[in-house]
Symmetry: C2
Subunit: 223 residues, 2 copies
DNA sequence: TAGATTGTTAATCGATTAACAATC
DNA sequence: TAGATTGTTAATCGATTAACAATC
């Protein structure tokens, strides 16, 4: 068995959604083909990087012409698995959970949240954006019956580890983790964490830099 | 004027919050010092990387002993500006906005959301997690009066660019962008986008790989 | 044919990792 | 002193960028 850990690098994969964004926009504007230079300009990247990324996903353009937009969209969506959407359960119907259940954009990106789960009796039985909320107890049973593989984790921090373990026990294969907890679960389970903290760290440090710069302005400049 | 674009690399900055996490945990457990090897083990990193990262922020440990935990926490929080929390406004009090306004963790990370803004008359005047919601019209005035520098953007996708422009006009200095829109605003404004789509792309492609692997299992193995 | 744009091969750059002397 | 751990210097690795022949 060949055990390749993806031939496509993480930085490349992370840029693909932004390419799709530009491509869809461009298609709507009535264009048929697009060049790597055009995509690069729109995203403040280098054309060669765009070409390298695209070729890594296994598509090739046409010399002198560029890439067929519709074909490229189809190809990238296929590559990401965003064409045939996968069903998912969401656990933790707080404000964040409700926000995610109502977000239309996920379905276009291959993720279809079909139901929510919570422990709060006031929430159980209700519907959010047309999706029913079940008792967490029903999770294992429904997971099996609906052949769900993906769980979205939006519970409070202090419940995260415990609930994640329960999801794994129930047979989940992948967890999209919206908590800041680094889950301790078996290696074979796919876990992707949304790194809010990292994003805030970058924002914070850029703000700090800016402050230091303007402080330098005052100290360094002779009036 | 020296215009250094930060001596500390982005990958390093993004790892700092996880270091803080381990450090706080370790302090609670009653430890006084910690080694780079310990931190690395807890985060599945290499000890040398932890040391390199920490030294990049300008702190040094003690040979044979490690780092003083309390001192290191203080240092990293200072570095990120997470000690003295900065006030921020949040624009767009939908489910996501409400979720963020109620999240306790931000204050510990230097971000204090003090008020929300919305265009929905039903929301204006109400309070969420003890924070008042104002009409978006009041944004520029309150921004100036309270000396707010940071705006959290949680409006619907189709309003994002327009609202962001309004925030810039009003004098905002930094935007934490929770929409998937790449904002087109002046260079000198700090924009940090939470890359939900990228995270989903990584999850998707890992799922696809896993599928392909198990498909190979079946095709490759002779029964 | 001339112009545009691709994909390949090589060069550069920056981040990670290794080795190890210095220090507590 | 022996053991643990740091920080420095050098080596490696992988991603980005450059150069350019090939192609439409």
């Amino acid at each position: 068995m060949i055990m390749k850990v993806s031939s496509v690098s993480l930085p490349t994969i992370k840029r693909l959604p932004s390419y799709l964004h530009i491509l869809r926009q461009s298609l709507e504007e009535g264009h048929e083909n697009i060049s790597s230079a055009y995509i690069a300009r729109a995203l403040h990247l280098e054309a060669i990087q765009v070409r390298k990324d695209l070729s890594a996903t296994g598509i090739s353009g046409q010399s002198g012409v560029g890439f067929n937009i519709a074909g490229l969209i189809k190809h990238l969506e296929d590559f990401l698995g965003w064409n045939n959407s996968r069903d998912a359960f969401l656990v933790g119907c707080g404000n964040l959970g409700v926000a995610l259940m109502g977000y239309e954009g996920f379905r276009e990106r291959g993720l279809n949240i079909v139901a929510g789960f919570d422990v709060d009796k006031n929430k159980i039985g209700k519907e959010i954006s047309g999706k029913k909320i079940f008792s967490l107890e029903k999770f294992p049973d429904l997971l099996e019956r609906l052949h769900i593989k993906i769980g979205v984790l939006t519970v409070p921090q202090n419940r995260a580890q415990q609930v994640a373990a329960y999801m794994v026990e129930s047979g989940i294969e992948a967890i999209w983790n919206f908590t800041s907890i680094r889950l301790d679960i078996p290696e074979h389970i796919i876990v992707e964490r949304v790194e809010l903290e990292c994003s805030l760290a970058v924002l914070s440090s850029r703000l700090r830099e800016k402050n230091e710069e303007s402080a330098e302005d005052f100290s360094g400049v002779k009036v």
